[in-house]
Amino acid sequence: MTSFKKYFSYQLKRSLPRLSTIALISLLITMIFTRLDLILYENVFLSFTDVTLALPFIMITLCITIPILELAPFKNRRNLDTLMFLPVSRLKMSIAHYLNGLVQIVSVFLLCSLYTLFYLLKKINDFSLILGYVEVPFSINYFVPYVIFILLFGIAIYSIYMFVISSAGTLIDGIAFQLFYSVGLFFVALAIKNILAGFTSLKFYNAENFIIFDPIIDLPYHFKKLMLLEKWDLTAIDYISFIMWGILGIASIFGFILTFKKQKAEKIGDISTSVFGYKTLIPVLGYSMMISVDTSLDLGFQLLLILAMYVGYIIYRRSARLKKADYICLASSILPIFLSLIIH
């Protein structure tokens, strides 16, 4: 057995208790969600979006938690001492952990999907026998691509989170980065949208498409429309955001492997100095939000944002003594605030 197989099979075995627990909880949640229609519609109406809502919810939860659980051992110096000398290259280790997390996500999600599918098929059968109303003409032909789409977006989100957590020095920083990346692009998109609206008459997209979970959350509604209209009812920006998240997901796989491979064990526990971390996220998020807020109407909120950036830097540096670059970034807040005055 090669070192990769040894390491991967060990990690897989080690994850089994965790996987069983997550699978059980997820299945319970799916069962509860699928039965919501009984409570909401007294068993006379079958809503595809309500019955299948558990699936995007479970996928999002898995995408958030699995990278944390999978990478937590690598954010602990003591654990690194017992892992990093093993006769397995870091490249193989990174791939093994990526795949291990992926196996957990895919297996739990498919289990819940299968349950949902059987439930839907049974209900549709029941509805054909009794007087009832099905929201949309349901077909297995729609359910399979629905599951595949959620899975693909889920894998993209999982990959992005694996990358951002691996860029962090501590698990807490990793979780903070997860949060930043979840909404980060939304605020940047919102700022760009506001700038465009301020200087041109262009209004061609919804910034909400750039919230990391948006493609998954919107899928039940897209599929509902697809079933009714028998064609996709997507805007150009929907397609753009789908492609963008896909590209980001693929890039994140390589980013994760590279970051993991280059990770210095001695830096674990130290402040997160990655360019993909606080260093970039604090000013980018801060400035984007400042641009999006109308300064003339809400100067207080702008000041609050500067304060939030300051707190962000304190968290980043783990000290109230900030670096010169941090103060420069804070002082530069005047520029997005000024820009906000012009565009709004």
Binding site: S3, K6, Y7, S9, Y10, R14, P73, N76, R78, N79, L80, D81, T82, M84, F85, L86, P87, V88, S89, K92, K264, A265, E266, D270
Partner: protein
């Protein structure tokens, strides 16, 4: 053979090791000695491939520890190994068994019996010494070509220490293994290490045969009828002095006969030569460099 050339490494911007050069032959038990923060654990982590050196080279028979095949021959036991709430000795053994197929279950079972450890009990329920025993039992059972032990004797009772030493010596004799062991208990190292290395001021200040090291120093106790002046040993190559009203003990560096001749000129009532152990030699070495 382990060959360390011009090894330098920084932690958090602080230079911890600078220009370390060392050669360790196969079949050697080497004691790694140094004051707290000297860089012993960092050196072991670099040797184990946990850290990658900022500068310099580490080679195991000409191969880097970053090489996967080289690492198959290395086992590193840190001073505070990680375990989860559910880890048992058996679960940890099973993990290492996958990566080190040469692991001897006979040796493991024998050591676990000697240490009277319940291999199915969670490690978190063990005392510090018991945890240490469990990990050492696994490390020795693996019989690696290169065994790196950080503060291995910390928390072990005298019986367990003796058993561990015996097993380490046996492992070296049978497999021509090389053991590098860091310890603060210098007396522990003296009776079973072949070689020592003192890490001081970020570099190797001294390295070599333990008996040669202790032979460099001699220790004399002198008694006088009158009170002893504070500058009694001035002009002599002493490295430490312990003085009461009429007794004085000194550790000296140099030829013991020459030093004894010089001491006799002080006309003591009694002069007696005492044995210098490795710990005294180490303290003398470090004191000489004003590190204590």
């Amino acid at each position: 053979m382990i060959n360390i050339k011009n090894l330098s490494h920084s932690l958090g911007g602080n230079l911890v090791l600078s220009g370390v050069n060392l050669q360790i032959s196969d079949g050697t038990i080497m004691g790694l000695v140094g004051i707290n923060g000297a860089g012993k654990s960092t050196l072991l982590r670099l040797l184990a491939g946990v850290y990658f050196a900022n500068e310099g080279v580490i080679e195991y028979d000409g191969k880097s520890p970053e090489n996967e095949e080289t690492r198959e021959d290395i086992f590193f036991l840190p001073d505070d190994p990680y375990f989860t709430n559910t880890s048992t000795v058996k679960s940890i053994l099973n993990m290492y068994k996958q990566f080190y197929p040469a692991l001897s279950l006979d040796t493991y079972n024998s050591l676990i019996d000697t240490f009277k450890l319940d291999e199915n009990k969670p490690i978190r329920a063990f005392s510090k010494g018991m945890r240490r025993q469990a990990y050492i039992a696994i490390a020795i059972s693996i019989k690696p070509k290169y065994l790196l032990l950080d503060e291995a004797f910390d928390g072990l009772d005298p019986l367990a220490r003796k058993r561990v030493k015996d097993e380490l010596i046996k492992m070296v004799e049978e497999n021509n293994s090389t053991v590098i062991i860091s310890s603060h208990s210098l007396r522990e190292l003296e009776d079973f290490c072949d070689m020592y290395t003192i890490i001081d001021n970020k570099a190797v200040s001294s390295s070599g045969d333990i008996s040669e090291k202790t032979n460099r120093y001699c220790k004399f106790m002198l008694a006088f009828n009158d009170s002893i002046p504070s500058d009694i040993f001035n002009g002599l190559p002493y490295v430490s002095i312990t003085k009461s009203e009429k007794f004085v003990t000194g550790v000296f560096e140099g030829d013991e006969n020459e030093i004894k001749k010089a001491l006799l000129k002080l006309q003591p009532v009694v002069i007696e030569q005492l044995t210098v152990d490795f710990e005294e030699a180490f303290i003398s070495e470090v004191s000489k460099n004003d590190k204590l």
